[in-house]
């Protein structure tokens, strides 16, 4: 039995030694959508994602994934791409595929091997000797080869060149499970806004906007990138007499 919502947060708060990283977040995400989690660096995107996948315990509040609190079940339906490379240095591509096959029932090994072949990555290649970019590709393959209910992609396109960005985004939209929901966190909006159904704006740990992309465009006649810039505009220091003109 599936719940209607794949993510449900109530009053979610996370303090780090007194500083609020998340402040009373209420968030409901439906199924079968691609959602952008947008905010500047340090706004709480990674904290929220870590709470959703059970790497962090919230200070207050509640989170339900697929109707359950973070635990073994929710981890089995979440496919998570961290902004770190997480491989043990002894493994080959084959080994990590074995591991995903053993732990995740929804891992499609055939698909993963095909994606590897198309990217020119050998199954016997050692992960330790790969470049950072290639390691990230292998992680993307692992994450997108699962038929997950929820994909949590933390900054998948940060720090790569524009050609690689297109490649990564194409891989994501062509391979996700259509019944599942994809959450992409980023501060590079213009690159991804076209593939988004909904956006969640997060600012200083508070959700300031959660709306369908088409509704925003209809209402404001602006690109999400421009709306984002308006929302997060910082007033530059104009000098002492800056406002006299």
């Amino acid at each position: 039995m599936k719940t209607e919502l794949v993510v449900e947060c109530r009053d979610l708060t996370k303090n780090f030694s007194g500083v609020k990283a998340l402040d009373c977040v209420d968030l409901q995400l439906g199924r079968g959508k691609i959602i952008g989690l947008l905010g500047p660096n340090g706004s709480g995107k990674t904290t929220l994602i870590k709470i959703l996948n059970g790497l962090l315990e919230p200070t207050f509040g509640e989170v339900l994934i697929d109707g359950e609190h973070p635990g073994v079940h929710t981890k089995s339906v979440i496919s998570y791409l961290p902004d770190k490379t997480y491989f043990a240095d002894w493994m080959k591509v084959n080994d990590i595929f074995d591991m995903f096959g053993d732990f995740y029932k929804d891992f499609d090994r055939e698909k993963a091997e095909m994606m590897c072949a198309s990217m020119g990555i050998g199954l016997k290649d050692k992960l330790k000797t790969m470049s950072k970019g290639t390691k990230e590709k292998v992680q993307l393959i692992l994450v997108m080869s699962r038929r997950a209910q929820l994909y949590l992609l933390d900054e998948p396109i940060a720090g790569v060149d524009p050609a690689a960005r297109d490649y990564i985004l194409t891989t994501i939209i062509n391979n996700y499970n259509e019944e599942g929901t994809v959450v992409i966190s980023t501060h590079l909006i213009s690159d991804i806004e076209r593939i988004l159904d909904e956006v969640v704006f997060i600012k200083n740990g508070v959700i300031v906007r959660h709306e369908a992309v088409d509704d925003i465009k209809e209402k404001e006649g602006k690109s999400i990138d421009d709306v984002f810039k308006d929302t997060f505009r910082m007033v530059p220091f104009m000098g002492v007499n800056g406002y006299d003109r």
Binding site: L169, T170, I173, E193, R194, I195, K217, E218, G221
Partner: protein, 122 residues
């Protein structure tokens, strides 16, 4: 990546317009197979939900037909295609005339210009 789209407007109407033009412009054979949502979304560089919405609109207008067995096909209704073509033309001309009017040209002057241009091109 993908089609040339305007990010300041909702995406799905733009996809719909583009697909309408492709259909009436003969890119797809009438009565022939129409690409899948997946392929179109990949080509356009948008997500499948957005493409699906555009296709649903085309379906409700009858330009694309969904068969249970054969997947989607392009309409065989020539009259509908002609109508759509005319509507697109009228729409384009209307916008063009507005633009010209804002530059101060009268309808007659515009027609003269078009005639001259047509002779040159020949």
């Amino acid at each position: 990546m993908g089609w040339n789209l305007d990010d300041s407007r909702p995406i799905w109407p733009q996809l719909k317009e583009r697909l309408m033009k492709d259909i009436v412009g003969g890119r797809y054979v009438m009565g022939g197979p129409f690409p899948t949502v997946r392929d179109l979304a990949e080509e356009a560089g948008v997500n499948r939900n957005t493409m699906q919405r555009a296709l649903s609109e085309l379906e409700s207008e009858g330009l694309v037909i969904t068969n249970r067995t054969a997947g989607r096909t392009v309409t065989t209704d020539e009259e509908l295609v002609a109508e759509t073509k005319a509507a697109i033309a009228a729409d384009n001309v209307g916008r063009f005339m507005d633009e010209m009017a804002s530059l101060g040209f009268s309808a007659e002057e515009v027609i003269d210009i078009i005639k001259k241009k047509g002779v040159e091109n020949r």
